[in-house]
Subunit: 259 residues, 2 copies
Amino acid sequence: MNMQEQEDWDSIVLKGHEYYLPHLSVDCVVLGFHHNQLKVLLLKPKQKKNWALPGGFVKKDETLEDAAYRTLLERTGLSDTYLQQFHIFSNPNRTKHYRNDEEFESIGIKMPEENWLRKRFLTVGFYALVEFSKVVPMPNVLSDQCEWWDIDGIGELILDHNEILETAQKSIRLQLKYKPIGFNLLPTKFTLSELQKLYETLLGKKLDRGNFNRKMLSYGFLIQLEEKKSGVRHRAPYLYSFDIEQYNLALNEGLNGGI
Amino acid sequence: MNMQEQEDWDSIVLKGHEYYLPHLSVDCVVLGFHHNQLKVLLLKPKQKKNWALPGGFVKKDETLEDAAYRTLLERTGLSDTYLQQFHIFSNPNRTKHYRNDEEFESIGIKMPEENWLRKRFLTVGFYALVEFSKVVPMPNVLSDQCEWWDIDGIGELILDHNEILETAQKSIRLQLKYKPIGFNLLPTKFTLSELQKLYETLLGKKLDRGNFNRKMLSYGFLIQLEEKKSGVRHRAPYLYSFDIEQYNLALNEGLNGGI
DNA sequence: ACAAAAGTGTTCCCCCTACACCCATGC
DNA sequence: GCATGGGTGTAGGGGGAACACTTTTGT
């Protein structure tokens, strides 16, 4: 740990209560899509055995959304991402015993008995859907690694982060039914079968190709471009891009009905 | 204001920070259904011009859900209600200037400059669907009235409570599409057309009687009883009750499809 | 008898489902 | 040619939308 990091750590521990709200944090479930796999961005906190969702504290004069955006920008380099709060987790014991003396002594900090970080924390869960290739994962001062993980290959995370992740996935599947948010996970140009793979991954089930294509095109917010790169050993599929104006129009009309 | 109330108020103002979490509250959108009208429970805070959603603070060792249940129990006398968090409102200025000296002087309290109630507050919105007739609206120490209002006849509420109410309605409409939560608003015995009126009110549009009946019955969680009271001057409609076991079964199977 | 609303039936049609069939491309 | 996946066609069925007809009750 270099001088700067030590200072940052000291600052958060000893002075954080001056500029952050107490008892409150945000955690972000950052999802990407790569090689037909759903990925989630995780941090490896120093001195902890398990990995963690990227998160942060809330400044005294910012909204939760701003705090989440800030966290996301710092971890991924991305602004303008699709970000959505989905639940607040408030189990009184969720952070009990998480901050312990050994952890801090090992990095040269004597944490006061009454430090703000030892208190109970509630956390607001956000999910972010980002374009995998644009992300440059960056660890923060409290962690030594920041990496994409296959969402199915994740072991035990710190605290209740497994629960937060699962809740996020449920919310996303629900949203997907009436709002095609999946586009945020794809590059600007994509094929229909890439889109289909994404939907299949998010929903956890196979879909019919023909029906899927027709349905997506019927929404009217996909723009067909020219042919795909010759790198595939079968018929070249069309590339599509996403027409955000038509998309917003379609959203207001409502994509699904039902009582 | 009697002695007890004065004490309670004093206690909240001067000692609240000892047993409540700072900066955080819950607000409940309590909905009922009566005379084919959707009703919402509102409080009239003393010394304020506008009405308010019932709300409360969060004890240092309870979950947000517990805090909301507690609020609900105190205001309505109901436990076992359908309660759902739907959003957390975090505008840094949402409570600015809400607590002012005049307010407190008028009830005989000199509020310290640095009192916890003057700080920024975030609030977690919950909605509750309750059986109108079972509710006994009860004001709290901070308010002099607690009443049902027609949801369409509400003027300006305090703070951002109009926004909270609107957000709640959107969430409920969305939920209703894939989860028939409306039953929580009806008495144990009800007719199909009462149910239909409720749906029409919640969704804000007319529905076809025949199609509605068939759809609801097709779910399989309605139990047909015997005839209705003779108090109607037309054919007596069947009464139905709600089979919670079949309901849970149906929910797991999924009521709606879509990609 | 009449009004009003409940219960039930019927038709049309859209859209989802499922397959099937041909097309383009790299090896 | 052949394997592979892309694009498109189509027959069938389920169910929603709209409407009609009959039934029951109180006045």
